[in-house]
Structures are given as C-alpha cells and as structure tokens.
C-alpha cells in the first residue's frame, strides 16, 4: 500500500511539473472509475466521458491545491461528482424532455453490454437497474450515499440541500429501493 501511494505521489509531483507521460499514467489509472462515477449521475456515456476528461484537466491545473489530506482518488472523485451534479442540474432544468431521452439512452447502453456484463455482475446489474427505476432525486441521492459512499453532510454539500431534506430524501429513497428490490426478487 505504501509502495503504491509513494508511486502516486511521485507521479503527481511529475504532473505538477507538467510531465505528459505522468499525467497520462494518472489518467489511465483513474479514468475508468471516474467515468463510472460520472456515468452513474448523468446517465449519458458521451457526456460522462467529457465530464471525466474535463475533471482530469481541472485536477492537473489545480494540483497545487491538493494537500494530501485525503487520497488523490478521493479528491479527484469529489471534483468529478461536483462537476457531474452541475451538468445534471443544468440538463434537468433546461430540458424536461431529456429525462425521457436519458432513460432510453440508458436502456440502449445496458442492452449493448448486457451479454458479457450480465454474467459477470448479475447482482450489480440488477441493483443499478432497480436504482434507475427510482425517482430521479432518489436515484442521485442514493447513488452518492450507497455507491460513492458519502455521508449525509457531504451529500448536503454536493446537492446543496439542507441536512433534514437530505436525511428524508435518503430514507425515503432507501424505502423505495427496498420495496423495488423485494419485488424484483420475488
């Protein structure tokens, strides 16, 4: 563990100096995870990829402000989450129709990769599918809470809602998810 962390620290030091190879190494290491974080929020593969790449560029520019109080992965993920939520809010605010579109898109995507992924992670697939059937604000809050692992305070901050609101939303979302999961199981 220490070995990998020092390795990353070295790479980050090179990134600070603008070493392109180091930047690409960091990118390769984290791109898939960050892509998935973005995709779970915005539900659009092209958009998720754009967000992920923009966040990497942003992170490289702001590398000076990364103090190492958290891991680099967690720091980067926070950037991706915030950016994704920003894009997500913009999309839902501007085009109500997009909501329907996104669902269609998500369905297409899952069909495309279903053949190999379904066998590997039937449980994950099932959970994600169930999550998608939830109300949008439930889905986002639960994704942040259960998949990305943020606590209530962090989610309040990310979604810009009050603590009470956050608690209620998540608790109702959990309830909804539980019922849906049960109905899927039966």
């Amino acid at each position: 563990m220490t070995l990998t962390t020092t390795h990353i620290d070295e790479l980050l030091e090179k990134c600070r100096r603008g070493d392109e190879r180091a930047q690409m190494k960091i990118y390769k290491k984290y791109s898939k995870a960050m892509y998935n974080v973005a995709l779970r929020i915005v539900k659009d593969s092209a958009e998720a990829e754009d967000i992920m790449q923009e966040c990497f560029l942003k992170a490289f520019d702001k590398l000076e402000t990364f103090e190492g109080t958290s891991t680099f992965g967690a720091w980067l993920k926070k950037i991706v989450v915030n950016h994704s939520i920003g894009i997500y809010n913009k999309n839902t605010r501007h085009t109500e129709v997009r909501y329907e579109d996104q669902f269609k898109h998500a369905a297409d995507d899952s069909e495309g990769i279903a053949s190999e992924e379904e066998e590997q992670n039937p449980k994950v697939k099932m959970i994600l599918k169930t999550m998608e059937s939830l109300k949008e604000n439930y889905r986002v809050a639960l994704t942040l809470h259960l998949i990305e692992g943020y606590d209530y305070e962090e989610i309040c901050e990310i979604l810009n809602i009050t603590y009470a609101n956050c608690r209620t939303t998540i608790s109702r979302a959990k309830e909804s998810l539980r019922t849906k999961l049960l109905s899927y199981e039966n």
Binding site: R16, K28, S31, K32, Y35, N36, F60, N121, L128
Partner: protein, 187 residues
C-alpha cells in the same frame, strides 16, 4: 421490516464500475491535454514573488561580471596547458611527453644515410602535429576547458606516438633489409 443497514450490506464490496469509456478515450484525452493553454506558473506566496525581481537583478549582475571576466581575462590566459585541467591530465601529459621524447631519441640513434629521408619526413610531420597542439592549447583556454578540446589534445599525443612508432618500425625494416642485402652480397 429489514434493518437500516441491509442496503449498506447489500452494496458492500460490490464493484459498480462496470461501464467502460469509449475505446478512443485515451487518445482524445491526450489531444485535450496538448491543446489546452500552457499551465500558468504556479502561484507561490508573496514572499517568493517579492524575491523574483531581486534574484533577476542579482543574476544579471552575475552575468555581467562573467562577461567582463571573459572579455578581459581570457586574452591573458588564452593558452592553457593540459596539465592545468586536473592532476590526472598533468600525469597524462607528462606520460605522453616522456614517451615521445624517448621514441625520438631512439630514432635519432638509428639515423643513417639510408634512413635519413624517412626520419626527416617524420620530424616534419611531427612538427605539424606540434603546431596543431599549440592551437589546441589556445582553444583550451578560450573554450574554458571544453571536454572536446581535451579529447583532441590527447588524440594529438596519440597520433604523435603512432607516427613515431611507425617510423621506428620503418627504420628497423630498412636496417634489416640493408643487413640482409649485405649478407646476400657476401654470399
């Protein structure tokens, strides 16, 4: 009714990163990385920023002094001996000069009417090499002990020794040839 932790347990240890970015995403990113405006200089705190002009002035003074030295001191010390570079170089120089001296003495001893032409020619060649060497000594001073000049000086020494060796061989050959022909004549 399940406990509040049931969902946490369900999600625990699962890898949700099942989607892959498009196949060309790395190339796209590399492109973006190169296209973006060059990273601004990292902003340090004010103390360091204040030092920047001071350092710049100090640096320009240093450069001025170096140029001054370059212009006014080099003419006086343009010629530098190889021995001035380092103690090892002094050893090298001493070694080569002593070898050259003994070889030269050996050749002078062998001097005879038959070999005179060869030896004189060799001495003329040696003189050319020596002139080259003097030029190199001048270069050494001017270039500030450039590695290439030092290398050229050593090569020059080697050339001289090679030349002398060749001459010694040639002279020996001529002498034995002479002896042989004398013997042939007597038989």
């Amino acid at each position: 009714m399940k406990t509040n932790n049931d969902l946490k347990d369900l999600f625990e240890g699962l890898d949700f990163d099942i989607a892959e970015p498009s196949s060309s995403h790395e190339d796209r990113f590399r492109e973006k990385l190169r296209q973006r405006p060059q990273k601004k200089k990292p902003q340090h705190n004010g103390v360091i920023n204040m030092w920047v002009p001071v350092m710049a002035i100090a640096a320009s003074f240093l450069v001025a002094v170096l140029i001054f030295q370059g212009v006014f001191t080099y003419p006086f010390s343009q010629e530098q001996k190889l021995a001035n570079v380092s103690p090892e170089m002094k050893q090298t120089q001493d070694f080569y000069s002593s070898v050259i001296r003994t070889e030269l003495a050996a050749i002078q001893e062998q001097k005879s009417p038959e070999t005179e032409a060869v030896i004189n020619d060799a001495l003329a060649q040696l003189e050319i090499l020596e002139k080259d060497y003097e030029k190199l000594e001048k270069d050494l001073g001017e270039s500030g002990q450039d590695q290439r000049v030092i290398f050229a000086m050593i090569t020059n020494f080697q050339k001289r020794i090679d030349l002398l060796k060749m001459v010694v061989e040639k002279v020996n050959e001529i002498n034995t040839l002479n002896n042989n022909s004398h013997e042939n004549n007597t038989i």
